[in-house]
């Protein structure tokens, strides 16, 4: 009887702990989501400032863009694929807002 009570208590405590850990993780992920949106926007702003010349915006001088471009190869590919995906950027926006749409 005593043993069963102890087991039940232990299990309850485990559940409570898992609940709080889950809550904690959810809170972290929620706040990180906000950071991630800002991070993506900053990345876009940075790439547009550097490579805007390529899409016709008179921005950073060509030599600066050319020096930085090789280091931004991966980001550039993402930027161009997003640009050319067109309508999908709306989907991107909705997915960053979370929830069911």
């Amino acid at each position: 009887m005593g043993i069963r009570l102890t087991d039940a208590l232990k299990s309850l405590l485990r559940e409570v702990k898992a609940f709080f850990l889950g809550m904690h993780q959810a809170m972290i992920e929620q706040s990180v989501e906000v950071l991630e949106v800002e991070y993506l926007e900053l990345e876009h702003a940075f790439l547009t400032m550097v490579l805007g010349n390529l899409v016709g915006l008179p921005l950073a001088p060509l030599s600066i863009a050319a020096e930085l471009a090789p280091l931004l190869e991966d980001e550039t590919k993402i930027l161009f694929s997003r640009t050319w995906r067109g309508a999908d950027s709306i989907a991107d926006l909705f997915s960053t807002m979370g929830g069911e749409w």
């Binding site: 990345e43 940075f46 280091l71």
Partner: protein
């Protein structure tokens, strides 16, 4: 010997770069050769670099072809830069990079891409800036005399590092935020994230490089600006504009050279008054900077100088005058 190089004060840092500017056709190449010649004769190692697309240097000093350094006198080396060829090389590099980043561009022929980049606004200035930046790094000579393209483009090149620094600083601020957020996200999610960012490192290196170039251009110890004009209203007007712009960047012009001064011959063709007025104006311009710039007059020669020997024999034609304010 009448010396144009009298403006060079003591305690200059080496290599000291002398930038000779002026309107097209006023005699920038003649003045550049003369200054370089005087300095080499005084025992200095001098590189005379012409960026002027008119390429008079090839003919004056019998340099066989562009980009070949010729020792024309003991210690005097001359090179004619060919912007076209340099620009082609650079635009090819850029277009290769572009095509790697945007493979769709392979549909466009390579020549078109190279041409489009080469004709882009600001590209020529970019090429000149690269050459100028390389010239500041020469450690094998004491002086570099730069014969520049006509005023407008030369001034834009000199200002360019400031524009670049503006961009680099803005990009750096933004990149720092990106890196810190990326680190914060990784940290919160328990991921390992490298704190160093290659793009941020590159931006720091670029800022350092352009700041050094900008400081060198503005420092009277590293750079001397010499303006050449003829005693006519438009070249003098342009000279005043250059004085103002150089002052604006925090430096000063050290000498104004008036070339093809007719002096007594002016009255024969009835331009005495115009010339005297322009010489007086030139004196005023020299006094507009602190300390005042030197004013040098080169009298008009029957046979315009077209070889090193002619330039070497200009002695009796050169007069360095002290403007009233000196």
């Amino acid at each position: 010997m009448a010396r144009l190089s009298v403006f060079l004060e003591q305690g200059l840092e080496r290599p000291h770069v002398i930038i000779v500017m002026g309107k097209g056709g006023v005699g920038k190449t003649t003045v550049s050769i003369r200054i370089a010649y005087e300095l080499s004769r005084s025992g200095h190692r001098v590189l005379l670099a012409s960026l002027d697309p008119a390429k008079h240097l090839l003919e004056y000093l019998e340099v066989p072809k562009p980009l070949v350094v010729k020792e024309v006198e003991p210690r005097l080396y001359a090179v004619q830069y060919e912007v076209d060829r340099y620009a082609r090389k650079l635009s090819e590099e850029y277009s290769l990079l572009l095509r790697r980043l945007v493979p769709a561009l392979t549909a466009v022929s390579a020549d078109d891409v190279v041409k489009a980049i080469r004709d882009s606004p600001g590209f020529e200035e970019e090429v000149f800036l690269r050459i100028l930046s390389e010239l500041y790094q020469r450690t094998d000579v004491d002086f570099v005399v730069v014969d520049t393209p006509p005023t407008g483009i030369a001034l834009r090149v000199v200002m360019l590092p400031r524009v670049h620094l503006f961009w680099i600083r803005r990009l750096r601020e933004l990149r720092e935020r990106i890196v810190s957020i990326r680190y914060a996200i990784a940290n919160a999610m328990g991921r390992k994230e490298e704190i160093r960012d290659p793009v941020l490192d590159k931006l720091e290196e670029m800022e350092d490089r352009y700041r050094r170039l900008w400081d060198n251009i503005r420092s009277p110890k590293r750079t001397s600006f010499v303006i050449v004009a003829t005693p006519e209203p438009l070249p003098i007007y342009e000279a005043r504009m250059v004085f103002d712009r150089v002052r604006e960047i925090g430096s000063r012009v050290k000498m104004l050279v008036l070339n093809k001064v007719l002096a007594e011959k002016a009255s024969i063709i009835g331009v005495k008054e115009v010339e005297e007025k322009q010489v007086a104006e030139a004196e005023k311009i020299c006094c507009s900077t602190q300390p005042p710039a030197y004013l040098a007059l080169i009298r008009h020669a029957e046979k315009p100088p077209s070889r090193l020997e002619d330039v070497a024999e200009l002695d009796s034609f050169i007069e360095v005058v002290e403007p009233g304010c000196r």
